[in-house]
Symmetry: C2
Subunit: 186 residues, 2 copies
């Protein structure tokens, strides 16, 4: 499963230049010059690092998945590219709910999938899970976004829409890290 | 999250005596005299060890959860107790399915929750997840069972019923490790 693990390491060097680090809820993370995205784990020079795994779908149904796949763009597009890493931790109350209760808040009440769909293909996205990594992880998810500089207004609108949903009442820590690609995509 | 991680370590000593190790599907695991169940990780003397985390519900709905909670017995009951550790890996085809597709096979087609309910409170059970641990784990789940010696026939019937379901067509590795408690519950 190692190939599903990605480490996001803040430090002096990396493929992404850090533009800003802002706490949306709870404690922030220390500022650093760059973010290195790598398959290998933490290294001695890192200021801090967060790891997560890509995993199976938790809420999306087959018809929703087909709509998403038809509309979405891949990561690593050519040209100047901005990025965002948004680590999130949800509350104990969220995790104590059963699958049907979480799905009801996620989509029936909050339209999480539909809101994301409205911003495709401009905003490309990948979700990494860290809640079940087994070691003490400060976040449950790491959400990664890539978009062209002209689409940053749209990206801000997407975040504003999600943060206004009933689902976000269960978010107890959220850090918004804005990035700009410093080197060509690998 | 450390408190959700449990290690099952096979070796010379442990709270559980190993009665048998049998491959149901795919490769088996090496036989050992005892199984140690601990919060700490692997130790130098272990023959092998598997780790998993307890996590949120993946398929159960609130009405199902309430029925389960009303009927189930806790782990660590007094008296002589048999146990079983059944590590399972499911196929890539299973994990490529969306949530609604997996739930349909799990319950609508296979009655996984209903079958388990039929054997409560005799068979106590806890599920540990290892698919998203981040390191190369050979299994996706570790299922732990405890039951009185007189209930082993029932336990075998439970496993036979589950293994005959459509869900089990997606199980590509399964090892059935039978145990007997060697010491009083902690």
């Amino acid at each position: 499963m190692t190939e599903r693990l990605t480490t996001f390491a803040a430090g002096d060097t990396g493929q992404w230049r850090v533009r800003s680090v802002r706490a949306v809820s709870g404690e922030s993370l220390p500022l650093a010059a760059a973010l290195d995205v790598r398959a290998a784990g933490a290294k001695p020079g890192d200021r801090w690092s967060l790891a997560g795994v890509t995993s199976n779908e938790r809420y999306v149904t087959r018809p929703e998945k087909e709509q998403l796949v038809a509309r979405q763009a891949g990561l690593g597009r050519a040209g100047p590219m901005l990025g965002a890493l948004i680590p999130i931790r949800k509350s104990a109350a969220w995790w104590a709910m059963t699958q049907d209760e979480r799905r009801a808040i996620f989509e029936a009440q909050s339209k999480h999938i539909q809101i994301g769909m409205d911003y495709l293909p401009a905003i490309a996205r990948r979700l990494y899970h860290c809640r079940d990594l087994g070691k003490c992880a400060p976040f449950d998810f790491l959400t990664w976004f890539e978009y062209a500089p002209a689409d940053e207004t749209q990206f801000n609108a997407l975040l504003q829409a999600l943060r206004a949903t009933p689902e976000w009442q269960y978010v107890e820590r959220e850090v918004d890290i804005r990035l700009a690609r410093a080197s060509a995509p690998r």
